[in-house]
């Protein structure tokens, strides 16, 4: 077992993990942050996307031990301080960018990473950036609209 310590959504968290413990398992099982989901085992669906040191990564394809000392941000940390929805989250609700909600945490985290890199992406840039996030419900139309709307509302500042 390896001891790990990391900052998750601004709070110091620690635990003891096996070598094989994935970051997503540490978040879900040890920290009970169940908003980060697992939708595949080949690193493609993106339901598990979180930010590690400000970068979007697939938490199902990173060992928890690799995140020792890192700053981790998950969907649970994306709301405003008063608990209201952040700009991207609000845009997803306003534009019906989610249905069953299972891919949604990963979509929001990827959208936040995109807007942090590129505050005004084109439709094509949004679609290409979401290459690693699969949604089976929405047909992507409203996800694209939501991200465009979030960009228009200057979400980049609220992304982290």
């Amino acid at each position: 077992m390896t001891d790990v310590k990391m900052t998750v959504n601004g709070k110091e968290r620690s635990g003891s993990v096996e070598g094989r413990t994935l970051l997503v398992n540490f978040l879900r099982d040890d920290l009970r942050l169940t908003g980060t989901h697992v939708g595949c085992d080949t690193s493609q669906c993106g339901a598990c996307v979180v930010h590690v040191n400000g970068k979007a990564v697939k938490a199902c394809t990173m060992l928890a031990a690799e995140a020792d000392g890192a700053e981790v941000a998950t969907i649970e940390g994306m709301a405003n301080a008063d608990g209201s929805l952040g700009v991207i989250q609000q845009a997803f609700q306003d534009h019906h960018g989610l249905q069953c909600g299972f891919c949604t945490p990963g979509m929001v985290m990827s959208a936040a990473a995109l807007l942090a890199e590129n505050a005004n992406p084109t439709e094509q840039e949004i679609r290409e950036y979401l290459e690693g996030n699969i949604c089976r419900c929405t047909g992507y139309h409203n996800i694209v609209k939501a991200i465009q709307a979030a960009a228009a509302n200057g979400s980049a500042v609220a992304a982290e």
Binding site: R20, D41, L63, Y129
Partner: protein, 260 residues
């Protein structure tokens, strides 16, 4: 996954030492290795992470050669590989953004997936793979699907990419995995053209020498018109027959020349 010990050394020497343990295995960004471990297709005793070795991260450019640390991510190359735009563009289309934030040059080259992009980039560039022990020319390094010249415990510490005069990488994606169904990189160097092909062959990445010869005489897409890549030894699967892959090699080579 079978369980394993985890080690994260801070230097190449410590990593080499850790990899000397029985059944120890190096871990780059893990974007291929971790899914493989999930399928229980490997059972290392210890995974030695290379991501904590500062010496193995970074991009430098000198004397017409771009050198990339083995633990440098695809995202970093995409963003910082401006000295070799074709290679940076190639890196910017590997996997997806989250994969690019973890996956590394060294990891890709050590794995040598037959559909990966970096082996193609390295071979077309005439790159030199630098390990903790030696330097290996790309032409000697790739030895077939998932097989390289690396010895047990040897680490790709950096890769030296000679910067061509002109180059372009064309990737035709396999629609599910988003790896290359076929990928072709054409690089025009001062001493000749190199054409490397990934995704197509059962033998892994290879050079299409007939195309190189034709392009050495006439560097234009038309020079390829009279050629046909052979379907012998090409991969046939649910995504494409050997004949289709052979056809794509030609189409993509022409496009790469035109776009270079």
């Amino acid at each position: 996954m079978y369980n394993f010990e985890f080690a994260k050394p801070g230097s190449v020497a410590d990593a080499v030492s850790a990899l000397g343990e029985d059944e120890a295995q190096a871990l780059g960004g893990g974007q291929t290795l971790i899914p493989t471990l999930k399928q229980r297709l490997a059972s290392p005793s210890t995974l030695v992470s290379l991501t904590g070795i500062a010496d193995m991260v970074g991009i430098s450019d000198a004397g017409g050669v771009m050198t990339i640390g083995g633990a440098t991510t695809h995202a970093a190359v995409a963003a910082g590989g401006g000295a070799y735009p074709a290679l940076a563009a190639m890196a910017s289309h590997i996997g997806d953004p989250a994969v690019r934030n973890r996956g590394t040059v060294g990891g890709s080259l050590a794995n040598n997936d037959p559909s990966a992009c970096y082996p193609c980039g390295a071979l077309a560039s005439g790159a030199t793979i630098v390990t903790n022990a030696r330097e290996i020319a790309a032409d000697d390094y790739f030895q077939g699907m998932f097989t390289t010249a690396l010895e047990e415990g040897e680490i790709v510490t950096s890769v030296k990419f000679p910067i061509p005069e002109r180059a372009n990488y064309q990737k035709f994606v396999q629609p599910a995995s988003r790896f290359a169904l076929v990928g072709v990189m054409v690089a025009k160097h001062a001493d000749g053209v190199r054409v490397a092909v990934t995704g197509a062959s059962e033998g892994g990445v290879f050079r299409w020498t007939e195309a190189e010869e034709a392009l050495n005489g006439n560097y234009s897409a038309d020079a390829i018109d009279g050629l046909n890549a052979s379907a012998d030894g090409m991969i046939g699967d649910m995504h494409g027959t050997p004949e289709y892959r052979a056809h794509l090699i030609k189409v993509l080579t022409k496009r790469a020349v035109a776009a270079s």
